[in-house]
């Protein structure tokens, strides 16, 4: 019984703030703390806010590109780690690829900023920071997450499937593309969704590595909140929560859905 109470307390602690935020996003009043009746007014205002909408567009594009790149790189890293057998530097690769999982974002962001500045001075690229630099920065940490997800799937991949493809005349490359990739596709999609969400979320690293004209949504939200909370932000946050929850559920479901693609 006491365990049950403790669990409820934890859930309230974790989710009450978000619930409050969702409720107040439908508040008629301009004052965030005073309830004045149900309204979807702030959602309308949100969609008319050009600054926020352009920031959303930037964030979505960065997240899409970062997630896609991370899936390619993360899959290659996962293949190297799980399928190539022992090779010189495998352990080092494993540690280095997944290190961004535990490195504080501030440090990742700062080090990337220093790198971009130094590169700009040395080779003239990137001349200025913007979407491309945020994209590259997001790829670095998103790749780590994708690698972990895909490596977990590859670890229980039935190697006889790959061998059967070779045996039936497929070159190693075609065997990988025609058999391994389709079978692990749910894990790739789950990794992509995870990377997309993380990129959409990120404030710290983006703040360090962005430049003029490439303000991401979390940055707009953060700076607007400092000037006083507009209920618009509640509306935006509600939409983001809905999206993140859906993406998380989708990736969880894809990882769970083993029956259709069972090979172990």
């Amino acid at each position: 019984m006491s365990l049950r109470v403790a669990m409820i307390v934890v859930f309230v602690f974790l989710y009450a703030p978000m619930l409050l935020l969702v409720i107040y996003s439908f508040n008629e009043s301009r004052l965030v703390t005073v309830w004045a009746g149900f309204s979807t007014r702030w959602y309308g205002e949100l969609f008319r806010d050009r600054q926020m909408m352009s920031a959303l567009w930037v964030s979505l594009r960065v997240a899409f590109m970062a997630a896609t790149t991370a899936v390619v790189l993360g899959t290659l890293a996962a293949v190297a780690l799980t399928r190539l057998g022992p090779f010189r530097g495998r352990n080092a690769l494993g540690v280095l690829v997944t290190a961004p999982l535990v490195i504080p974002e501030v440090i990742t962001g700062l080090s990337l900023l220093l790198l971009f500045v130094a590169m700009g001075q040395l080779i003239g690229w990137p001349a200025e920071r913007g979407m491309v630099t945020v994209w590259i920065a997001h790829v670095t940490f998103a790749t780590a997450f994708v690698t972990v997800v895909v490596a977990a799937r590859l670890a229980r991949f039935e190697s006889a499937l790959y061998e059967a493809a070779l045996d039936l005349g497929a070159t190693p490359f075609r065997a990988f593309v025609q058999v391994v990739l389709p079978v692990i596709a749910p894990a790739l999609l789950a990794g992509w969704l995870l990377a997309f969400t993380l990129s959409l979320d990120d404030l710290v690293i983006a703040s360090f590595t962005t430049g003029p004209g490439a303000t991401t949504l979390p940055m707009v939200v953060f700076s607007s909140v400092r000037l006083g909370v507009s209920p618009k932000v509640n509306a935006l946050a509600t939409l983001l929560i809905a999206f993140v929850v859906l993406a998380a559920l989708a990736s969880w479901w894809l990882m769970q859905r083993r029956s259709a693609y069972r090979d172990t």
Binding site: A160, E163, L166, L168, A170, T171, V183, A185, A260, R262
Partner: protein, 354 residues
Amino acid sequence: MSGTPGFLSLRGLERRYGTVNAVDVVDLDIGRSEIFALLGPSGCGKSTLLRMLAGLEGIDAGTIHLDGELLNAQPAHRRPVNMMFQAYALFPHLTVADNVAFGLRQLGMETARLRARVEEMLALVRMSDYAARRPQQLSGGQQQRVALARSLARAPKLLLLDEPMAALDRQLRVEMQRELREILRSIEITCVIVTHDRDEAMTMADRIGLMQQGRLVQVGSPEAVYDRPRTRFAAEFLGPVNLLDGVAESADRVRLGDRLLPTAGAAPGARITVAVRPEDIDLHLAPPAHGQALAGTLVGIDYMGAHRVLEIEVPGLPRLSVIVSGSAQKTPPPGTAVWLDWWPEDAVVLEETS
């Protein structure tokens, strides 16, 4: 081993893992359209040898020739060899028809021919009605047929079967063994089967190669290997057997305790082990006239349906098993005194190599 190379010819084949030879100097010739079973306990190297033939395992020494062509340097996907994997390894994301078509697509075969070939293969294994299904919607036996169709589609010169019945339950196994053998015979394909199941090897194969610790210890027809095992291991692996230690009195007499029993091909004076199958022992309820039968006591009876296994205790010898068939009423009760003998060719003198 004959001097003329076979359709499939292995010479001095070796595979090493560290200091262990998984496959240890294997020489073997297999004829065209022959069904050959590699039989042995797990870890004897039979699967490694099969994978070497498929190109999925490296070769440390020796050569593999197939139809006069050296296979050593050819990677798996270029060899005219196809394998049916142990758990079938059907592609879960493809339909039955696409599984069978997979190997043909790699050849770049045109659509019409490819379709015809897939239909032909599915008809061969009686799975035409399941072309649009996914592998996970099929039973074990059906999956096996699809796997067979897939491995035959490219018309390989050599078909490899890795423990073909291991994933099936016992009842289905006997049925599928017969069906598989008939399909293989009808298309006259050269085939190497790996199995640890002696019944499977004896039912399906023209010849058996018995493997032990990476070596081929005996090669021959199922009858030859069963009736004339060369070693203790071969005798025991192929079925229940009585192993009796004695001294050769002459070329065709072995002294067991105080009796002389028939055997064949012994070196006089040598300490030898003879192997006698339980079904080859003749049981008498009265001493035979020649006076050289083993005298013992019936101590146990196991009823096995069509036959019975009798346990006989003979002073100075390990307990003997004797299989008798026929009416159960004729079986004497435990405690009965019995006499045992056999024909000379049924007591095989083993080489003392094990």
